[in-house]
Amino acid sequence: MTQAEIHPWLQRYVRVTLADGRIFAGRLTESNQHYKVTTPAPDKREHETVETIHSGDQIVTIEEAPEFGR
């Protein structure tokens, strides 16, 4: 996807599908020309995870992913 296509999704909780089939759910941010999906900890006793996407070309789709429950 192009930067223009990705830009509206930044800072939102989304579901990102990559060209290699991997899917990540979390908050999408941009930093140093990379994109990051930060998935909150599934449980408060765990840590959040961050997946770095090195180029927008890797991204096939972005869709809204409303968080479950609270």
Binding site: G21, I23, A25, T39, T49, E67, F68, R70
Partner: protein, 252 residues
């Protein structure tokens, strides 16, 4: 049970234990118990839904994190879903509601109907999810429910009586099957194979990834699966899952 739960929470694997599960008809026992109460509970509603929800409303000792629809009851019958929806709206979004999507006699098309209904409810009520009671369910039915929930973005809780690490729907089988369904809800054959795999050597942890045969799921993928699809796991014995996972070498 409360004493066993308190002991388990203060033990080395206490961090792996979630909500204490109580049938709504036994909520009163928590009030009279002298044992230490758990920080939060999950309530399984009894078949008399009105009375069960009243018991939940009247309970104020600890946080009720979620309620489950009555065990073995088709939520599409009568007005169960509508009742839960109306109750949840009044109770607030801070209590999740899980609805069983199949029992021993359920057909695949009935699973589809319930999951579709839940997906529709979730447009307005994000705290609704599906519950899949594993028990003796065939892998094909569990796979069908997992795939359908993944396709329609319905989070689910899996419930088992006896836990195992691997085999007969062990914990590693279930998380692997959920991860496959999350990535591709059409991969039914692979989901079934992951559920039916009884060989512990098929599963492993390498660096930060869960590995099953030639498939690899990284930490961010597993976290996403646990946030979006396989959001809860209910079992009877609080200490058994961690001990079993340690036994097969996937937990330090």
């Amino acid at each position: 049970m409360l004493r066993q739960d308190a002991e388990a929470r203060s033990g080395p694997d206490g961090g792996t234990i979630g909500h204490f599960v109580v049938p709504s008809s036994r909520l009163g026992e928590l009030a009279t118990s002298e044992a230490e109460l758990p920080p939060s509970i999950s309530v399984v509603l009894d078949r008399h839904l009105g009375r069960a929800l009243e018991a939940v409303d009247d309970f104020g000792l600890v946080t009720i994190a979620s309620v489950d629809s009555p065990t073995g009851v088709n939520v599409e019958r009568g007005d169960i879903l509508e009742t839960l929806l109306g109750w949840s709206t009044g109770y607030g979004d801070n209590c999740d509601v899980y609805c069983e999507v199949f029992g021993p006699q359920t057909r695949p098309d009935q699973i589809d109907e319930t999951v579709h209904h839940l997906a529709s409810i979730r447009h307005a009520q994000k705290n609704f999810g599906a519950k899949i009671p594993i028990r003796n369910a065939p892998a094909s039915m569990i796979a069908h429910a997992l795939a359908e929930c993944s396709r329609l973005r319905v989070p689910l809780k899996l419930g088992v009586d006896e836990t195992r690490a691997v085999g007969a729907h062990g914990i590693l089988n279930l998380i692997t099957a959920a991860a496959i369904a999350f990535r591709d809800s059409d991969a039914r054959a692979a989901i079934v194979e992951a559920l039916e795999d009884e060989d512990p050597s098929s599963f492993g942890i390498e660096e930060d990834s869960l590995v099953w045969r030639d498939r690899r799921f990284g930490a961010a993928t597993i976290a996403s699966v646990r946030r979006e699809l396989f959001v809860a796991f209910a079992a009877f014995n609080p200490t058994q899952p961690a001990a079993q996972l340690r036994e097969v070498g996937v937990l330090a």
